[in-house]
């Protein structure tokens, strides 16, 4: 294979057609095209408007509680230095967490939802729809819809409704209607299909609040811009704490919104190595994983071209992960491009490794992480002992684990 020509900057995409290299685009039914073009126009206008930016910043600060702390995980760092010493390596990088799990609603998802609902208001839309897998984006959508007084319908796979009952309850308390989706296999991709069908039907009044940096242009770019607050803050906070850039960034990728949010502001800082962590599920040999970048191939789904889990006939497969938030057979198109251009390295982490990391963090730092960032943490645990003590890793702790305690408790055989 030819090695792609290294671009001057990794931060200029997408182009006018919404492409990141060969990835991205606008693969949607004609019914949706005028809406997507309208959305794009409003987004271009909003992102250049100081008043919009000020509104987002104000809500980020006073509603979400930003900036989220950049926390030096001292006990975990010490623990991994002991591991390093025991291996005779004598290393152990310093580990920092970007603590987006402390945000209102418990994850990074709120960053995106606030920006999008302000846009929906500007567009005069009166009804919000969203898809959700684990329920984190559903909760964040229901939250901002309540805050702005708009009705909200959340599509959620019937399988996920069952395994994420606490979040379903949260959404309902917040006034959202949760529609269980039984078509297909009743998971996140089916929920997204159903949300698109709703949007195709209710084109006049409805705003589709996509939860990740995927879907037709301009969503991948818009969600990235709204989530980039994570990386911008982290950069500033790192300069303040250490006076220099980190050596490595690590984040979990499902659809990829928290990861692109952390990565994007650092993409042109070539000294910073960047690692995205996919759900390896029960292993890449079988079909029970969600590692679309590591084990998938390019295809077209949900409005964009990107790496997908699919069979040789182009039919989309069901993924598996212990974490419902990573359980999606696709990935944001910018990640596909970053993989092929070689700027970001993507690796899989197995269910069992994520579970171990989950428990380690709980006991060393007193933080219960969501299972999604537990995947990122498992990669940090692998890498830190092999790095020097003066090297620095920043990991995005993008969600808290309250929603996962039942899943984890069940697997560990704890009676609740």
């Amino acid at each position: 294979m030819n090695k792609p020509i290294e671009p001057n900057s990794f931060r200029t995409g997408p182009d006018e057609q919404g492409m990141f290299g060969m990835f991205g685009g606008r693969f949607v039914a004609e019914t949706l095209m005028p809406l997507i073009l309208d959305l794009q126009g409003h987004w271009e206008h909003a992102k250049a408007d100081p008043a919009y930016k000020a509104e987002v910043a104000h809500l980020n600060k006073h509603y979400t509680g930003r900036p989220s702390p950049l926390y030096f995980a001292e006990r975990l760092t010490d623990h991994l230095r002991e591991v390093s010493a025991a291996k005779g390596l004598g290393g152990g990088a310093k580990i920092y967490f970007k603590r987006d799990e402390l945000n209102h609603t418990g994850s990074h998802k709120i960053n995106n939802c606030l920006g999008q609902i302000l846009l929906a208001k500007r567009m005069g839309k009166t009804r919000i729809i969203a898809e959700t897998g684990a329920g984190q984006h559903g909760v964040a959508s229901a939250t901002v819809a309540a805050r702005f007084g708009l009705p909200c319908v959340v599509y959620m796979g019937a399988t996920d409704v069952e395994r994420q009952a606490p979040n379903v309850f949260r959404m309902k308390l917040l006034g959202a209607e949760v529609v269980p989706v039984t078509s297909g296999h009743g998971t996140l991709k089916d929920a997204m299909n159903e949300a698109l069908r709703d949007w195709v039907t209710n084109v006049d009044d409805t705003y589709y609040m996509i939860g990740t940096a995927a879907g037709p242009h301009p969503y991948p770019e818009m969600v990235r811009e709204l989530q980039s607050v994570i990386g911008r803050e982290a950069k500033e906070q790192m300069m303040e704490a250490e006076g220099r850039l980190p050596d490595m960034l690590v984040a979990a990728v499902g659809g990829g919104s928290n990861a692109i949010g952390l990565f994007h502001p650092f993409l042109d800082d070539r000294s910073v190595r960047i690692v995205g962590v996919e759900a390896g599920g029960k292993g890449l040999d079988g079909e029970e994983h969600c590692a679309s970048l590591t084990a998938g191939s390019p295809g077209v789904l949900h409005g964009n071209r990107t790496y997908l889990l699919q069979n040789s006939d182009g039919q989309i497969m069901e993924g598996h992960s212990i974490s419902a938030g990573l359980d999606y057979p696709g990935i944001g198109p910018e990640h596909s491009w970053l993989k092929d251009s070689g700027r970001v390295e993507y690796v899989p982490i197995m269910d069992t490794e994520a579970l171990e990391a989950f428990q380690l963090l709980t006991r060393t730092e007193g933080i219960i992480p969501a299972l999604e960032p537990a995947h990122a943490l498992a990669e940090v645990i692998k890498r830190a002992p092999h790095m020097r003590k003066d090297e620095i890793i920043v990991m995005n702790l993008c969600g808290r684990g309250d929603k996962d305690i039942f899943t984890v408790g069940k697997i560990l055989g704890m009676g609740l």
């Binding site: 095209m33 089916d190 006939d313 182009g314």
Partner: protein, 279 residues
């Protein structure tokens, strides 16, 4: 370069009646039965066949066509088999136009050039690919036109005056007017609005305009056919197949016969369309 679609629609125009365009899902409930359904369509009065290519994630389709696609995939249907089905049909019928309809991903994975060559060789005349708007014309539309296939585009109530020329620019064969926003199989739209919309599209193009989404009965086919060059029926046909499948997947009657009965009725409706309009 004319295709069977161009010739068939021109011929029907000279006869003064609209076309009956019938959609069915390739491979539903299985390959052999589905081929039988396909062969029954022209005899029952179908003028143009839309051959559905099943896809796991049909985002613009309602429950009936979703279920049909999943049945077909479960029975082992693939894009290669759908093309083979068209070729088998062509062995006996070199006249009835065949339009392949579905989503882009299976074609993309098959490989665009290989797909176009195989589609031509299988006797395919046109393509409808739901998730390829004019913005993505370089992907498949332009290569398909170069290969001598029609690329039929959907126009919808959201396609306004400003956008219509862009939608029509590389469209050939006919314009498929989707009479409502929403997914396939929803309720029929207001027929007077449909007539206005057809007129609006015709003011921009000389292409025939066929109307679909929501047509289920001969009466509706007659009404829509009064203003359109063709009436597309899909969900009703897929439902006719589903109606003879029992919950365990067995057949309670012959699906080809169920489809033929429905299509004969619809064909009568379409054939009566202009008579009604003339009265």
């Amino acid at each position: 370069m004319t295709t069977r679609i161009d010739r068939r629609l021109a011929h029907l125009k000279s006869e003064g009646r609209p076309a009956l365009v019938t959609y069915f899902m390739g491979g539903d409930p299985d390959y052999a039965t589905s081929l039988k359904i396909m062969k029954a369509l022209p005899k029952a009065g179908s003028d143009i066949i839309e051959l559905g290519m099943p896809f796991s994630d049909p985002m613009a389709d309602g429950p009936a066509i979703q279920a049909a696609g999943l049945r077909a995939l479960k029975a082992g249907q693939t894009l290669a088999k759908t093309l083979h089905m068209a070729a088998e049909f062509r062995a006996d019928d070199d006249e009835t136009p065949i339009v392949l309809m579905g989503y882009y991903n299976p074609i993309y994975v098959y490989g665009v050039d290989r797909f176009l060559a195989d589609a031509r060789a299988s006797g395919i005349d046109g393509l409808i690919v739901v998730d390829l708007p004019p913005e993505m014309d370089e992907e498949l539309c332009i290569p398909a036109l170069k290969a001598g296939l029609n690329f039929i585009r959907l126009a919808t109530p959201t396609t306004d005056e400003k956008r219509l020329p862009k939608v029509l620019q590389n469209t050939s064969g006919f314009v498929y007017y989707v009479s409502m926003t929403g997914i396939t199989g929803s309720a029929l739209a207001d027929t007077t609005k449909v007539a206005t919309a057809v007129k609006r599209i015709k003011s921009h193009t000389a292409l025939p305009v066929c109307v679909g989404f929501g047509v289920k009965t001969a009466e509706q086919a007659r009404t829509i056919g009064a203003s359109a060059d063709g009436v597309v029926v899909g969900t009703a046909i897929v439902n006719a197949v589903a109606s003879v499948i029992d919950p365990k997947g067995g057949l309670t009657a012959d699906p080809a016969e169920a489809v033929a009965t429905l299509v004969s009725g619809l064909a009568q409706g379409v054939r009566g369309a202009r008579l009604v309009a003339a009265e």
